[in-house]
Symmetry: C2
Subunit: 360 residues, 2 copies
């Protein structure tokens, strides 16, 4: 697993492996940008994690790992949740920790089955808050049809945490016949988006800052597995999927484009953004294309199946605003290009720096 | 899943489940004792987590969950690691996060295969420290024969963490034919301990306090799966196992006793404790029976197989000091009783309060 070209591991006298020095990755301390889902995070993953752990599959940056268990193909994924505040319009850290991991399994084409839950509690956390979060996780698991089967609790001293962090890992059974991965994307594929973007990030940010909107803005947080499995059951050949979390739509498109040898073209006018999200973004200097969702995904499907897939998505309340937002082209770079509402094309890059820290 | 007698869940107008009020569990804030592995932690698990999540199996407090995948039985477990300091004699948070989860799978009778790794990094963490920890995880995974196949990174603001927390979840294939669980324990079973106790807790505590011992004291941290699987391959029928982490030997014995209808009798003179651990405990007012290990376990086996099992354990460097420390009796309460070196019997209770916070 370790990158043998850099370091094959050596042992000290007691037979214990010793960490060996590696070249520094060009920055000497972790910043909030390293957790924001954009370029800095990918740099961290490439230069620290993948370098040491190796990559069991070419698409290691996929939402989960896939492995075989007899005749069954399983998906395995994990996420830690550090959202601040713990409660926001439309959800809380508990429902987020369940749906976030359920959605990562769904993006592997898997039916989610079992979750683990690891809690890091800060000394002094009120029992009432803990109970609300735990009950919310139980309710979310019930809604998503998964069981929380194993767990762990650690407590850290006051001032060494922020009330409550949760990690969930999940296991699901892959339902798709063909690999759902950037490598499966083909020129001409239609890119479908399951609904309006940016509500989760703005809802959390507003809750954190105590902002009030004229029309209440609620996170899009939702479990996506049923929606995805409806596509699978209808025989829609899904080449790739990604849920739009940190870094938003623009970053997800760039992640997938990086794993293909094709360009991606999307049309701004076709991307649903609610007026209140657009307004908040203008006010705060954000671009909705980079703001996180927690209940939206993109799917790459053969162009001949796009209309049928959209019908299926739109028949489900979680996909009622689904739209085709673009397609895969064989055009040269820039890899992701956006046709703006003004009719001009511009390159759409991955998120750089931090936009909204701790939104998940 | 939710405890139907208390609350069957209700829905608000939007169809989202709403957390419903539950009676408070008798304390109103989380304390360090709730993470120490003893009575307070069990209270938290019973009154908050199991109440909300339900329990898919009677032995929900086992080290992992067991489920069927076709013909294969899988084990699934998770732990978060918050040890302070990050580096201690004999290991660091990275090797601990790999071996800790590997050992939990081993305690299910499983061969560990895949791990996930979730990182919560504090803004400002030095890259060099992160790289050392990650390389240590990679080396530990290599030594334990597991692959780290999926992961996640979050960054929290400075002052909202303590450099670095890690969560690992693990999947393994169960190798034992019969259930390894407290329910399988039988009267007369021999209780085997794989080696000397308490070194991990004392090594971490000493590193934290900057204490120096005359003879250097190194954590017992080690991966236990090979040792356990040697017993399994030899056909030793293991009724129950538990690794001795938070709360130490005394707490593990109490956890298992609570799941059986028998008493447990152990003999203090047969429990290996190194002189330096005994000395440090006397000095600091600890009882070695409650101090954590990270490379030791107890196994309950039929008395007729105890000698063979001990031979196998002692042939492995990680089990060279293995000993039979007691047996399962049909005597009435107290559930766990200790025959002291002075020849008198006393009840051995679960850890109450906190002894050594953040040792794993």
């Amino acid at each position: 697993m370790a990158d043998g070209s850099q370091c094959s591991g050596r042992e000290d006298g007691a037979g214990f492996p010793v960490a060996c020095p590696m070249p520094l990755p060009g920055w000497d301390a972790v910043t909030l940008a390293h957790g924001a889902g954009g370029r800095a995070m990918h740099d961290l993953i490439d230069k620290v994690f993948l370098k040491a752990f190796g990559s069991p599959a070419p698409d290691a940056k996929h939402d989960g790992a896939i492995f075989q268990c007899g005749e069954t193909t399983l998906a395995f994924t994990t996420d830690s949740y550090v959202v601040s505040p713990l409660f926001f319009p439309g959800g809380d850290i508990g429902s987020l920790a369940v749906y976030g991991t359920v959605n990562d399994l769904a993006m592997c084409g898997a039916k989610p089955l079992y979750l683990s839950a690891g809690f890091i509690l800060e000394e002094g956390l009120s029992t009432e808050v803990l109970q609300r979060v735990v009950q919310s996780m139980a309710d979310a698991a019930h809604r998503a049809g998964v069981s929380i089967v194993t767990g762990d609790t650690k407590v850290v001293d006051k001032g060494k945490g922020d009330k409550l962090y949760v990690n969930t890992a999940g296991i699901g059974i892959v339902q798709t016949r063909d690999a759902v991965s950037p490598q499966s994307v083909r020129t001409g594929d239609a890119i479908l988006l399951s609904g309006d973007i940016g509500r989760h990030g703005i809802a959390v940010m507003a809750a954190r800052a105590g902002l009030q909107f004229e029309r209440p803005l609620v996170s899009d947080l939702a479990p996506l597995a049923d929606l995805v499995l409806e596509l699978v059951r209808a025989g829609i050949e899904i080449h790739c999927m990604r849920d739009l979390t940190r870094g938003g739509l623009a970053t997800a498109l760039n992640e997938i484009a990086a794993g293909t040898h094709s360009g991606i073209k999307v049309c701004e006018a076709d991307i649903p953004v609610r007026e209140e999200v657009r307004g908040a973004c203008e006010l705060l200097g954000f671009d909705p294309l980079y703001v996180a969702c927690e209940g939206r995904f993109i799917a790459f499907v053969p162009p001949t199946r796009a209309a049928h897939a959209l019908d299926i998505l739109r028949a489900n309340p979680l996909g009622s605003e689904a739209a085709q937002i673009g397609s895969v082209t064989d055009e040269p770079l820039p890899v992701v290009s956006l046709e703006t509402v003004l009719g001009v094309s511009r390159a759409l890059d991955m998120l750089t720096g931090e936009q909204l820290p701790r939104i998940c």
